[in-house]
Point group: C2
């Protein structure tokens, strides 16, 4: 199986597509740019969702669900928002089909034209703030801390499974607050929560910071982003949280009566991560043998394979081992398929990224041991049967830590500093990764550097120490360096 994967060195982009396909994560669909998320891929997303959901709830958020459709006129209410989102979107114009009067099949019924077209939500600020208008009357109704898990549609030109698709799954939080300070604190709380999730669960280190004005969410006053580094040296924007100021409150006229009995506009945030994270997970950890999944998000953490074939003796021992693992909350499966050989199974589970494989043969049985193989390092150990649950529990922790450390080391190795355009362009082009450089703070310079090198400023670190220097393009003064990279 593994030999069917293109190596990263040969063609990184094809390697990614091969893993998505061979590990059963996603498939193309009959609809342009929309993918089918297959069971193996969906199970990873489910684990991400459940973990994030519990983190949202622990911080006081609740879930709700808003309509898929947005009246066209809503999009125009916030001036910048419409520029960002109204352009490439799915437009519903009719509500009925009819039998084709001129032949077989069905056609759109022209008499069922909608009075106002509906847009399939590309993001839900407009429909949600139109609703909040009815929910918020007084400071007592605030804060509103609401999240929704939903599908959204953006008519993308170039798509790639998980990383950029026309339809994708995500969560979008939309909060409303009494004060600017409280809304800003919320945006930063979620910024930190996303970083914690990526590092502790996905084992994917991220840079934190604010987006430049040019890269901000359409309608936001400030956008905070976490930025991960993929194995090809390109950055991936993994999650954003936006401080929206009073922009949407003003666009939808959402005011509240303050404790001092004054009418004021509400302060807002919004924030989201999507199935794009599955793409980030794949590209951070996987290797030329296939997918690698961090244990904390692996749908199956341990796979037990009998060698050469299952029999009652082995079955009994396996049931005992599974009981021990399950008691520790470890998810384990027994691959007792008679139709496949052990070698085939090994390759398959490796391809699918299962963190730990336990092999057990007749000789192991006699010796009271099992073989424990790690997916990350491919090391194998012979382990006494009695202590196997404790051993595996520790191995799962070790794999989780090792994957994070490996990704962090990769990022450290691919982090450079440049003080002039030539060095900068060379590093971006030939080494890749994050290149820290001085920038004069203007959109003009940012765009000129992008034009020359395809690199963008990934984020502006929030608490960067003063380290004055000169902009690599204009020579104007700069207070600290910012990380540039080519990005997905």
């Amino acid at each position: 199986m593994a030999k069917e994967i293109t190596s990263r060195e040969e063609d990184y982009s094809q390697w990614y597509l091969d893993i998505v396909k061979k590990a059963g994560l996603a498939d193309n669909s009959a609809v342009r740019g929309c993918m089918v998320i297959k069971p193996n891929g969906y199970a990873i997303w489910e684990n991400m969702r459940d973990q994030l959901d519990s983190m949202f709830k622990e911080t006081g958020h609740v879930n709700a669900y808003f309509p898929l459709f947005i009246p066209k006129s809503f999009l125009s209410k916030e001036a910048e928002h419409v520029e960002g989102f109204a352009k490439e979107c799915a437009v519903v114009t009719h509500h009925r089909l009819m039998n084709n009067p001129d032949g077989p099949g069905v056609v759109v019924d022209p008499s069922a034209k909608l009075e106002e077209e509906l847009i399939v939500r590309p993001t839900s600020e407009t429909i949600i703030w139109n609703t909040y208008k009815d929910w918020i009357k007084s400071y007592r109704d605030l804060p509103l801390l609401i999240n929704q898990w939903a599908n959204v549609v953006r008519w993308e030109l170039r798509t790639r499974p998980f990383l950029r698709t026309t339809e994708f799954l995500w969560q979008e939080g939309h909060t409303a607050h009494v004060t600017q300070q409280e809304a800003m604190a919320e945006a930063l709380l979620i910024h930190d929560l996303y970083a914690t999730f990526c590092e502790e669960y996905m084992a994917m280190p991220v840079l934190k910071g604010a987006k430049t004005a040019n890269e901000r969410f359409a309608g936001a006053v400030e956008t905070y982003s976490i930025e991960a580094l993929m194995q090809d040296g390109k950055a991936l924007q993994a999650g954003t949280s936006h401080f929206l100021g009073q922009n949407f409150a003003k666009a939808f006229d959402v005011k509240f009566l303050s404790e001092e009995n004054k009418e004021e506009y509400v302060w807002a945030t919004s924030w989201g991560v999507s199935t794009r994270l599955v793409g980030g997970l794949i590209m951070t950890h996987s290797d030329d043998a296939g997918l690698v999944i961090p244990p904390k998000l692996a749908p199956t953490q341990v796979m037990i394979v009998p060698i050469p074939k299952p029999n009652t003796e082995i079955d009994e021992v396996v049931q005992e081992i599974m009981k021990g693992l399950k008691a520790k909350g470890i998810s384990v499966k027994y691959d007792n398929d008679m139709k496949k050989r052990p070698g085939f199974k090994f390759a398959e589970h490796e391809m699918r990224g299962i963190p730990v494989r336990i092999g057990i043969g007749m000789r192991d049985l006699a010796n009271g041991v099992v073989e424990v193989a790690r997916r990350d390092t491919k090391e194998k150990s012979s382990v006494p049967r009695e202590g196997v649950a404790e051993y595996v529990e520790q191995v799962l922790v070790d794999i989780q830590n090792n994957l994070f450390q490996r990704a962090l080391d990769f990022r450290t190795e691919h982090t450079s500093y440049a003080d002039d355009m030539e060095t900068f362009a060379d590093l971006i082009e030939n080494k890749g990764g994050f290149v820290y450089a001085h920038w004069d703070g203007t959109t003009e310079t940012e765009l000129a550097i992008k034009e020359k090198t395809k690199a963008t400023i990934r984020c502006i670190p929030i608490d960067a120490e003063e380290d004055p220097g000169k902009c690599i393009l204009t020579g104007k003064p700069s207070r600290f360096r910012v990380p540039f990279a080519k990005a997905y």
Copy 2:
């Protein structure tokens, strides 16, 4: 608060809408027929989803996700399916908006017309079977036991929160099998699973059986349905599972190579329940004081209210009680809002259907007791503080059982038998509920009875005992009675 609800006797339909609104379950939206599911309503749906999801997984099913959009031509491939679903649906015709050249706002960009229109899925058989075509080659690929949690859109004329909305949330299972027997067994397995869920978790008794030919899912060979009885005497179809035969396999040309190396069409099922269940839950248990939620699905099972106001002494005792309840897996909240009076809180939690309320005042504190109030019977008991966790645990079980028994008794009281059309029409019109009557088995008779009385055959019991009689309309022979009712 409670007095703001219309009583059931006065106006059942308004009572339902009042509860949906006052208990914070759902709200109307700016989009015709689409509701906003508010946090209290969504939390109930989440609990339903999690419980069903674990039951699906225990029976070997996995989740996946298929595209929101279906190419128009797919709908026409299964002849009956298109009749059932192509008529009232949301049609996407364009993929871009542009600034209005003649004024403010945005308009559809005529140059961005899709070559083939896309339908927002009303159900996913067609897009899924078009995908299964690529996934199924051999008997080794079968069975495929896949479920998806998704939103769907049907352009309904008359809508009602949860019960019938243009967009709704649901799960749809789509399975593929080697043999007819296996597919039929799957359809019945899910039929039973749905009934178990409704009775054991929703505390809502259901009748089980097959739909008549006339009421079958468009494209199915057999549809199994569970039917609940609401407090106004109308039936609610709560969940259906369909044996699809080879209809979709033939429409999408999905064949497999059998163990005997022969090419054969695949056998199929599909099955679903939706947010309609939330409507069923509301209408089965609630009363004139508001919502009543069965403990097994209640997002908050116990609410603790201090009387008259929280203070450090009470807070300490409450923390102790909460610890004890949480240790038993009971979800509990402490309403220590200083701005609201206890009486207001009591009415609010009653309206929201929280199963158990614990009140604790200064005298209770001195006496070492708390007051435990049940939402279902409104009984109150003074309970020693030490044993409160065990006591509440048992009360929650009692409430769950009592709600089911009460609903079952209601159904028994509202189940009648008629041997002639006059009695039948009178019972349907004046008593409501299920009326068992003999029917000659023809669609013609079924429709004629519906025309006269608005009652439909809810289902044909699968293992009905022979009990010969004569059709109430035509006098033709009938082997057993079937349950009729007016329905939602």
